[in-house]
Symmetry: C2
Subunit: 149 residues, 2 copies
C-alpha cells in the first residue's frame, strides 16, 4: 500500500503519462501501477494511434504490470489513473483483483459508477486525487480539438 | 448483417476456437468477428498462457478486427462468442459500437447482464445460439480440471 501522502506523488506520474497522450492527439488519460512504492507499469491512452478501443491507459498498464509480475493477479498493487475508469477497465480491474485504485477526475458520463459496472468487492477506490489537474487537461484537450475542427 | 440461418455456422467457428483454448488448458471460450459473411478475426481465451486478465477471446477479436479494418469502430460487424461477454468485454464492445453480438451459453454469475454492465443502445444482442454445445464444453473443462487437482 502506498500511504496517503504518496498518492499525489504517483498521480503526478500518471498525469505525466496523460500529457504524453495529449501530445499525440489522444484523449489525455494516463496511468501507473505501483507495488511497494515502485512503479512497475506506465501507460497512456492510445486508442486513436492503435485504432483500438481496448487501448485505454489502464488496460495497457494492467497487461504490462502482469507481465512484470509474471502472473495475472495484481495483488498488492495500486493503480493510479487520471480519469475514473470506464466499465471495460473496471471489468479488467475486477478480474485482476487489484486491492487499490486511485483516480483523478470523475467521469459522470462514462465512468464505471455511472455505467453501473462493478469493481471487485475487495478493491478500495479513492477518487478525486489531483482532480483539478486531470480535469483541466481534459478540458483543454477538448477545447483545442473543437477549435481545430 | 449475417442472416439467422448463418448464426449457427459462425458460432461453430467460434466453438472451434473454444476447443483450441480447451486444448491449451484455458477456460474454453472462442470468438469470431464477421463482416459481410467473411470472418475477419478469430480468437480464443489466453488469460492463463499470457498471464493477462485482458486476454479474453472477445478482446483479442476486437483488436484483430479493428486492425484488419484499419479503424477502431466495428460498424457492420457481428461478434460470435461462445459465452456471454463479461463486463470488461461488454465495455470494449460498447466503445466499438458493434451493431450485433451473438453469444452461446449464458453466464449467470459473471455475464454482463448479471454484473449490470451496459451494451451500446444500438447493439442487437442474441443469446443462446448453440448454447448446449458451448455450455457442455465449459462443464467438461471444469469437471476435468477438478479431477486433475
Amino acid at each position: 500500500m502506498e500511504g496517503i501522502l504518496d498518492d499525489s506523488y504517483f498521480m503526478k506520474k500518471a498525469l505525466q503519462e496523460a500529457e504524453v497522450a495529449y501530445g499525440l492527439g489522444e484523449i489525455p488519460v494516463g496511468a501507473v501501477i505501483v507495488v511497494q512504492g515502485r512503479i512497475i507499469a506506465r501507460a497512456h491512452n492510445l486508442t486513436e494511434r492503435l485504432h483500438d478501443v481496448t487501448a485505454h491507459a489502464e488496460m495497457q498498464a494492467i497487461t504490462a504490470a502482469a507481465n512484470f509480475l509474471g502472473g495475472k493477479y495484481l495483488h498488492r498493487c495500486t493503480l493510479y489513473v487520471t480519469l475514473e475508469p470506464c466499465q471495460m477497465c473496471a471489468g479488467a480491474l475486477y478480474w485482476s483483483q487489484i486491492p487499490r485504485i486511485v483516480y483523478g477526475a470523475h467521469d459522470p458520463q462514462r465512468g464505471f459508477a455511472a455505467m453501473g459496472a462493478q469493481m471487485h468487492p475487495k478493491t478500495e477506490i479513492i477518487g478525486g486525487v489531483l482532480e483539478h489537474e486531470a480535469a483541466t487537461l481534459m478540458k483543454q484537450f477538448f477545447i483545442e480539438k473543437r477549435n481545430l475542427n
